[in-house]
Symmetry: C2
Subunit: 480 residues, 2 copies
């Protein structure tokens, strides 16, 4: 019997029809059963007469399957597998936890620290391998990446592979996929999975010169079903319906709603679903949206969105550390670090990006490669400081342990723990007003210098002098 690790996947291959257009003409699916539980899983045509079927078991024990197809040779196939416990480091897929937080399926908190390399999967193996090595050394546990190639400033190269076959006239046949493209893409998904990096797959985007941004509705839907049939078995996949959906002129709000419903219906594992804006937000309160994926430079608004949507808030694009001419791509490392602290303490999650000029136009934000900025080290520090508490942190609208309560990004865990981040303000001192009865160990965190300095124990109302410099935080831990 086949043995499969929990949240890994098994794959079965069957021979089937090659005539006509197998992507359109052949239906092929399976139901996987464990005791009285059934999961419907769609198979996919992988070229050369081969039909694939993938299944990611989420519970241990024996699973049986039986296939259904309009092709006799694919119909009524059966099999069995034994799901064994996950290996250490495999925590399963990420989903929403406690309304505005994330956790892995095994309950381990997931502290989203994202970055973006839109077109890294279209750069050829040498650069792609370099990107993977860079990611392995980075703080990032999520990567935003497009399925389709990107046409934009600094992005004019053709990808080595396309998702579609070409017709005789050189145009793309948008009803015939190119399995080689997907097999390559899956290698990258698998590499990210090994690194415990979630792949936030951007299914559509506006930066296109090949026609993938304005396919017919039936072609869009065919593409979605095919993608899901192939990729959903990767536990580290998230579905991002679009990057800057509001710039895609060929699509309407109803199209996006339909795409969400297709993804929701087709994905047996219910991976996270979101959609990312340029200016106008999609209505993230719609039921098929699992979390708000936002482009916005003002992280002070995270608390508002968190209240508005009652879902996790990820500011996936708050501008990039870099030095290009475009204003979205030249904030300082200090400012990006600041936005991470601000958004995190307001109860959200933040995305990194980097756009330093490169003689060959290899900017991390799109092509990957190496990281050259100063923010990733600070983002590591942020993660280290907050990893143990982030799941429990409750943001405060005002800094409740200051006598002069101000709207600094701040959060608490009951009366046990408080943290106030002063942002770009330089606060020379604060009068504390702590819950009576407790002593607190007070520490000064310099988010830029990456230092934690003990300031002794404090209690109730007292004045504390601070260095007059920006990007400091105060951490209070009850010591009884």
């Amino acid at each position: 019997m086949v043995t499969i690790e929990q949240w890994a996947f098994g794959e079965w291959t069957f021979e089937g029809p090659t005539s006509g257009n197998p992507y359109i003409d052949v239906s092929f699916s399976a139901v996987f059963r464990q005791a009285n539980r059934e999961m419907f899983v769609r198979g996919f045509y992988d070229g050369d007469g081969e039909y694939g079927l993938r299944f990611m078991p989420d519970t241990c024990g024996e699973w049986h399957f039986a296939t259904t197809s309009n092709a006799p040779e694919l119909d009524g196939q059966t099999g069995v597998l034994e799901c064994i416990p996950a290996q250490p480091g495999n925590h399963g897929p990420v989903s929403v936890w406690g309304q505005t937080r994330f956790a892995y399926a095994d309950g381990t908190p997931y502290f989203q620290i994202g970055t973006t390399c839109y077109a890294w999967a279209h750069q050829g193996v040498v650069l792609e391998q370099q990107t993977i090595r860079t990611l392995a050394e980075s703080p990032f546990n999520k990567l935003r990446m497009c399925v389709f190639p990107k046409h934009y400033r600094f992005n004019h190269n053709e990808p080595p592979l396309y998702a579609y076959e070409k017709k005789a006239d050189g145009s793309f046949d948008l009803e015939r996929f190119n399995p080689a493209f997907f097999q390559h893409y899956e290698d990258l998904l698998a590499a990210l999975r090994t690194l415990n990096i979630e792949a936030d797959l951007i299914l559509f985007h506006p930066y296109d010169r090949w026609g993938f941004a304005d396919m017919e509705a039936e072609q869009d839907d065919l593409y979605l079903r095919y993608i899901i049939a192939r990729f959903a078995a990767f536990r580290n996949v998230w579905w991002s319906l679009a990057n800057e959906y509001d710039l895609m002129r060929a699509k309407t709000e109803l199209d996006w709603d339909r795409f969400f419903r297709i993804v929701q219906a087709e994905d047996p594992y219910h991976h996270l679903r979101s959609i990312h804006n340029c200016r106008a937000f999609y209505d993230h309160s719609k039921p098929w949206v699992t979390h708000a994926s936002i482009q916005h430079s003002d992280l002070a608004r995270v608390g508002e969105w968190r209240m508005q949507y009652g879902k996790p808030v990820v500011d996936d694009e708050c501008q990039y550390e870099g030095n290009i001419e475009n204003q979205w791509g030249n904030i300082t490392a200090r400012e990006l670090t600041h936005r991470f602290w601000e958004g995190t303490l307001r109860g959200g999650y933040v995305g990194h990006g980097e756009t330093y000029r490169h003689p060959e136009d290899i900017l991390w934000w799109s092509k990957g490669g190496v990281l050259r900025g100063e923010s990733p080290a600070r983002i590591c520090f942020l993660r280290d400081v907050l990893a143990d508490v982030v799941q429990q942190l409750v943001p405060m609208e005002r800094a409740e342990v200051m006598l002069e309560r101000q709207r600094y990004a701040s959060a608490r865990i009951g009366d046990e723990y408080f943290i106030i981040y002063f942002g770009n303000s330089q606060v020379g001192g604060v009068t504390l007003q702590l819950p009576p009865g407790n002593n607190y160990r007070l520490e000064l965190i310099d988010t830029w210098e990456m230092t934690v300095t003990p300031l002794g124990d404090v209690r109730e109302e007292q004045y504390i002098e601070l260095p007059t410099k920006p990007n400091l935080a105060l951490r209070f831990t009850a010591v009884g």
Copy 2:
């Protein structure tokens, strides 16, 4: 014959009634005539049976006056004066020039560089003299200052003098002014006039424990007429109806409109008139408002307000360099300097303020004293760089001499002069696209380091590498 310098003022004193309440009971005014021109000027009771009359001539030559009063001894008094040309350094009052700019009456451009010391006139002579010495060494040519004392954090001391007499029960008689208060205040106005500093007089404000913020309507109006009768002859006076008018719960929009109409009608010299908000803006498009006086931290919006009101825009309060707990009072010197450049190149004017903690609560923003921050030197530098061009600068919505046109604060004078300020962005290089035919001398301005570095001559389309650091500007001057 009395000789008076143009835009200085002459003063005449007359003996009159002391019985009853002269502030209410006695009407006293004069008409000043030059050829066929007449100006109506109100006199004022100055206590001890003395009635004052002040007149600031704005044209040279002979002027005659005759008084009118319901008190026989004040009625029908006449006089004559000879107005002689202004001395060097006396440019007359400031008014609006060319829709969105300011100029002195003699045509000299006025580049507003303001600061704020709300309650400095209520601190006693020692501190007041120190404030004047500090101002003399500063870049500032406008000072926001309250007539009434201030009650607020760091401001709990009683003023040495009040604008009103006290009644037997210790409460203020809001229909009897205290001339000693006004005489002292006028000494300060005169000292500022000597320094060529405009006094932006804040007539009302909400931070009050004495009852001056919620007087009866008749008392408000009496106060306005008295203030104008005394102060309007100072050429350096501006009328700011309120600081944070929207926080004054006892006043309605109709009250503010009425106050504006009174000031407009009573002031024979038509000094500048504005009103300052906390959150909600007054409608600065109303006809009696000469310029928008704004509290806002986002200077990128100056261009929008300039278009909206078609009047000069002064962001009088964009937060303060300092280190207090309140978020409005702890921005860095770098950030305040940044806001000056941003607002100025977007076609507006910006106000400085400083709130560094002080052991005796002497914060510049309210009490004056000395300046301890690092922004004033940078504001001097900004003034020096822009003084010769600011009157002609036309803000651009996008940086029109960059191939990648971005929304950096930038301005031009025809094709002769361009300036782009990159703000907090770090731009490693730009591709220039200059008007064809001209050569331009290019200079890099480091607004924080206060340096101007020649980058040689440039023309048409070419790429220029820049240091990857924030707060830089590029200046292009046509050299034929």
